[in-house]
């Protein structure tokens, strides 16, 4: 049923819950795999480089951040790999493009929980993703 699972991660608490749900989904099926997707949008590059000093260090921090989720998944004997997308105009657009270019059975993502004002200016990632991704989407609150 859900064999190829795409898991979008932003490193927040919501990602952790989304990962748990993705693992539950994967366990329903023999030899299911989870691909973790992390998007470095333009402004994320700016603040990461400012706070970590340079691009190499920022990449290392991201790798470490993703390693926690990888561990969670591998602890359940589920195969997993990681995709990091750079320089994209908007997180939602990058997730949508990646999900639709490849063949996934389901996309799992956490909801950021922005307030009304933030949603108005930034736009809701999950809303756009649910609307435009062709595969079924599991949004974890």
């Amino acid at each position: 049923m859900f064999k190829k699972i795409l898991l979008a991660i932003d490193g927040s608490k919501h990602s952790e819950r989304a990962t748990e749900k993705a693992i539950e989904l994967a366990k329903l099926q023999d030899s299911a795999s989870i691909e973790m997707l992390y998007v470095v949008a333009g402004n994320k590059s700016k603040s990461d480089v400012l706070h970590y000093g340079d691009s190499d260090t920022a990449s290392l921090k991201r790798k470490r951040l993703l390693a926690d989720y990888k561990e969670m998944i591998e602890a359940e004997n589920i195969s997993t790999d990681t995709t990091v997308l750079h320089g994209k105009d908007g997180t939602a657009e990058a997730i949508i493009a990646h999900a639709n270019e490849h063949d996934y059975d389901v996309l799992v993502l956490g909801s950021r929980g922005l307030n009304t004002m933030q949603t108005m200016v930034l736009g809701s990632v999950s809303h756009k993703v649910v609307k435009y991704v062709k595969a079924p989407v599991l949004m974890v609150k």
Partner: protein, 487 residues
């Protein structure tokens, strides 16, 4: 990779993306180049020539393909007093000297010096820059009617809300076009770009700044050039790292420094003001699909083309629209996460960041702010390092006291270290265990001599154990000297 393959890769591997992104950037550069000229106190022409010349030249000689350089706010803010006191010709000369200093910086491979600028200083730098760009716009609001305020508000609403519906056209461009059209049709009579000075109607030409070539001139421009060179390199290398991260590729920072220098020298000779890399524009470029050298070239050429063809329309842009765009630039420049996370970062880092911002806002000089931040960080660092911890282990039977020393022994820490020891001990023997300590300088060795001497007066012998290799080498070198000459 052969040279030809490399050139092909850097220039023509992404032609469509680079051309489109370059055109988007050109449109975004025009209002900023004009606004930064006005900040510096020169005609919009000076900033537009600079943006054209820097973008075009850096596309050939820069070290970071995909990065956009042009006239910038950080540099414009440093020029204000030079232009006010001495005029445009001195600014052009200062621009050339800035370039020469930057070329030297690149040739001597000083990009590695950047590691002495702590992150908290860089964050303070961008935040201070954002605040100065914002406050520089306030002059346009003085003695204005509500019409001007409404136009600024309209500009900002379009800029921020339009991308929610479409990202096909840059929202700043739409905002400028709408507000300009509205101002012309309704005949509001608000101040426009045309009121602020001349726009170019020809391509720039080569000219030598009309200044006396003597020591007095050098004394005037050198401090400005030094500050400009430093700030330019700082912002350019920061931007290069951001573009590295956005494209997941590496870049040559020394080549970039040299390239910035070449671009500024050339720009001074064609009547433009000094510039550097731009974070915001580079982010726009990469997001729009520009990753190669071609996009900066297209941005520069297309900007000049637009100004020469559409100059009559550009002069009609209301200052209100420009102020709105600059407020957006300022909001985008500010590192908001540094404010929301300020309670999470080490307190000394927060103090350094706030000090940089405070210094810059007070002096209006980014270079002084960075300098103050680096000095303060160094003081904090020395203070943190100078904390020496001592653990005591006393053996009654052996009449021996062992001091386990944890920390760095150097000029700032030894005084504290020496006074922490107890000299009125009931002991025959004192062991200084330095396994967890490190001797750094003459003062550290001197302190050990002093301790030995003080115990010696009380007939207590001192034994030093656990010296690491580097420390004992230092001790031999200096200790040998002082023993030979002194005692």
């Amino acid at each position: 990779m052969t040279t030809i393959e490399k050139i092909k890769n850097e220039w023509f591997s992404n032609v469509k993306g680079d051309v489109l992104a370059g055109m988007v950037v050109a449109l975004a550069l025009i209002p900023e180049a004009i606004a930064f000229s006005i900040i510096a106190g020169v005609d919009p022409m000076v900033g537009l020539y600079a943006s054209f010349s820097i973008a075009v030249i850096i596309s050939f000689v820069g070290g970071r393909p995909g990065m956009i350089s042009a006239a910038t706010g950080a540099m414009a803010l440093l020029m204000i007093t030079l232009v006010a006191d001495h005029g445009l010709e001195y600014l052009l000369a200062a621009t050339i000297l800035t370039g020469i200093l930057q070329i030297l910086f690149g040739v001597f491979k000083l990009a590695k010096l950047m590691k002495f600028v702590p992150r908290s200083v860089m964050i303070g730098f961008v935040n201070a820059l954002a605040i100065l760009i914002f406050t520089s716009q306030l002059q346009h609001f003085v003695n204005e009617t509500w019409v001007m305020y409404a136009l600024v508000a309209l500009t900002l609403v379009i800029i921020y809300i339009l991308p929610r519906f479409t990202k096909a056209v840059p929202s700043t461009l739409v905002a400028i076009v709408v507000v300009t059209a509205l101002a012309i049709m309704m005949n509001f009579g608000v101040r426009t770009v045309g009121d602020m000075g001349a726009l170019p109607d020809t391509l720039p030409v080569f000219l030598i700044p009309n200044i006396p070539l003597n020591f007095e001139t050098l004394a005037i421009i050198f401090p400005y050039s030094l500050a400009l060179a430093m700030v330019g390199i700082l912002e350019s290398l920061l931007t290069a790292s951001i573009v590295d991260d956005m494209t997941d590729t590496d870049s040559d920072k020394n080549k970039e420094s040299r390239g910035q220098g070449i671009a500024n020298v050339a720009t001074g000779f064609v009547g433009g003001m000094a510039g550097c890399a731009m974070i915001g524009q580079s982010v726009i470029n990469v997001k729009s699909g520009g990753t190669g050298r071609l996009s900066a070239l297209v941005a520069g050429v297309f900007l000049m083309f637009l100004i020469i063809v559409l100059g009559n329309w550009v002069v009609q842009i209301p200052m209100a629209a420009l102020a709105g765009v600059m407020i957006m630039v300022s909001i985008g420049t500010f590192d908001w996460s540094s404010v929301t996370n300020i309670h999470k970062i080490p307190r000394t880092d927060a103090i350094v960041m706030v000090t940089v911002v405070g210094t810059v806002v007070y002096t209006h000089d980014l270079a002084i702010g960075v300098f103050a931040g680096v000095i303060l960080s160094a003081i904090f660092f020395a203070w943190k390092l100078s904390q020496v911890k001592i653990e005591e282990h006393y053996s009654m039977k052996m009449k021996t006291m062992t001091y386990e020393v944890h920390g760095q022994l150097f000029f700032a820490s030894v005084q504290d270290f020496v006074t922490q020891l107890d000299y009125e001990l009931d002991a025959k023997h004192v062991i200084l265990d330095l396994s967890n300590a490190h001797l750094w300088d003459d003062s550290a060795v001197g302190a050990l001599d002093k301790i030995e001497h003080k115990y010696g007066l009380r007939n207590i012998t001192v034994e030093i154990t656990g010296l690491n290799k580097e420390s004992s080498q230092l001790m031999e070198k200096i200790g040998g000297l002082s023993k030979a000459s002194g005692h």
